[in-house]
Symmetry: C2
Subunit: 347 residues, 2 copies
């Protein structure tokens, strides 16, 4: 049947404990013994039983990464960054830690379900990425779960979402508000006074922060916002397309459209073009995130670059290094990327 640690021990003529020590490399073992054990492992083609060792040690090598949409490169890039950060050696069995990417699809229930599943697996850490849902009861439920997780020894990291109060979770945030503000300031500086805004789903922190930044810029410039200028949608291209058509219907005199993210902006560009409008001559467009494809849009997209690839490497050092973030550290700042899709308004 399946080879167990005891079989290896027998073959190497040592005790099971010794084999375990060799495999985990966390305890001194004589070189000659180690070799003998390793040889036996190899000959028997032995593979450690993960559940058994997790049970005995009361921890596992799993690290859960929750994402809202795995098909969206925004999350893919973060997940990739996080994974390579934790991937290094250091896992219990001398091997790598297993990064578990879980796709919540933006659903609160699934988020909670995955958190429970991860709790059940006694995950070593869980990382929640992207904007959080702002519904009060859900926030409470998540906080409670996170508290249980940290109590059980699971490290919790929030990446791109605000800190969870009453929780020992480390938070690495992005400055969505500041980025949104910069973007709109740039457009205003160009002379725009009538700007449409395609926001993401409501009740999402990212959505709210970006929108707040936009409004702060408007206000600072003394521009009175027209309620017709804001439309909510999803974070995808299709949504950007529809929302832009809606915006145009509501107020054809808009000279700029600011989108919740780059995908939405691409959809907006398409809608504008179909409507016979030139970018940026007739309408300027701006995105957010600076995903790789944004530079290839024509004209290339003016957007805000977020340090997505630095996710998992907090300002206070890697959250995996055991050091938690020092209060006072700044958010991951956004960098305004001015490109071809924004220009001076028509007339």
């Amino acid at each position: 049947m399946t080879v167990t640690l005891a079989d290896v021990a027998a073959r190497a003529q040592v005790s099971p404990a010794t084999v375990s020590r060799v495999l985990n490399g966390n305890y001194p073992v004589a070189a000659s013994t180690r070799e003998r054990v390793l040889k036996a492992v190899d000959e028997l083609d032995y593979v450690l039983n993960g559940p058994a060792s997790a049970l005995a040690a009361a921890t596992s090598d799993l690290v859960g990464i929750l994402v809202n949409d795995i098909a969206d490169p925004f999350f893919g890039i973060m997940a990739s960054a996080i994974q390579s950060e934790i991937g290094g050696p250091g896992g219990r069995a001398g091997g790598e830690r297993l990064a578990v990417v879980c796709n919540t699809g933006g659903s609160p229930e699934r988020e909670l379900t995955y958190l429970t599943l991860l709790q059940r697996q006694r995950a070593a850490a869980v990382v929640l990425t992207g904007g959080a849902i702002e519904d009060a009861s859900h926030v409470a439920a998540v906080s409670a779960k996170l508290r249980k997780l940290t109590d059980a020894g699971t490290r919790v990291v929030l990446c791109g979402r605000p800190p969870a109060p009453d929780t020992s979770a480390v938070a690495l945030t992005f400055d969505n508000r500041g980025g949104g503000r910069q973007l709109t300031e740039h457009l205003i500086g160009l002379g725009h006074r009538r700007l449409g805004y395609i926001a993401g789903p409501e009740e999402r922190t990212t959505t709210r922060h970006r929108l707040e930044g936009h409004r702060a810029a408007l206000e600072a410039a003394g521009i009175q916002e027209d309620p017709r200028w804001t439309v909510h949608g999803r974070y995808d291209r299709r949504s950007g397309h529809e929302a832009t058509l809606e915006l145009l219907r509501r107020d054809p005199s808009l000279t700029a459209v600011v989108a919740a993210n780059d995908s939405v902006a691409l959809g907006a560009c398409a809608a504008l073009r179909e409507s016979g409008l030139r970018i940026p001559e007739d309408v300027s467009v701006a995105g957010f995130d600076d995903l790789p494809f944004s530079i290839d849009a024509v004209p290339s997209l003016t957007t805000v670059r977020l340090p997505l690839a630095q996710a998992g490497r907090g300002p206070g050092g890697s959250p995996w290094g055991g050091r938690s973030r020092r209060p006072g550290d700044r958010d991951g700042a956004g960098e305004l990327m001015v490109r071809g899709s924004s220009g001076v308004p028509r007339e």
Copy 2:
């Protein structure tokens, strides 16, 4: 300390065995008893210990999905599709199965490492997505691993890569060869006779198949291929940019560039534009995969659409349904999407 099944049993005044049966729902239990148990679970806020149950039952709910690059939507879309396919109820503990997305980064070693990790976790299933590496020793190593996995009861599914001989792995392939051929036939039909090809990394099945399709089309049209017309690179935008410059240097008379995938094609477009060439008037460009952003390129990309979102739903029914693929079923066919980036050659 942490609540165990025994605590629940005590509170519900039943034996641990009964609690287990209620939780797993795979054994008759009196309704009144069940309720009592569920109530206790709720009151105690009990969470099943995954490792312990995996150890005792010798299986787990984990499903591993191996991807070459999680930041690439090509894989993200497939992973998402697979996850939603397996996500439904049916996991051991009545809950969802935990989909584990593992990022190999295209490295053979990491692929093997993850396979071992998954084997160690006694995964319920593993899905390998995307092109396989063709190095003989690696292929042998992977096959051996897969055989061990299936022997241990893990279901193995190959998605977008050729079947593994001597393995009971289910394979769902994409018709890369046919797609490549269609694309080039389209270009030839337009009048192109001098076509550059930016291939993916060597020793990858996807790369080889797409290239073979391209060459088959060339040959069928009686076009003698010039060795200078093919360049190998990576599956990303940057690579497409560099390769295009190289292609232009080698033979400025090229009238079309066929790229390994859409990202590469975008890079190619950028390089062409920087070189003062218009698309498609001076040079036509074609991609592969039809990722969401491709339609938003300007001009929009002529490409081949692959049924990525159907990954995990094989032609013979879902591979998760227990039914394996019937021999003779056809590959996931590619659909030629003719768009603005391809046109008749100059002159």
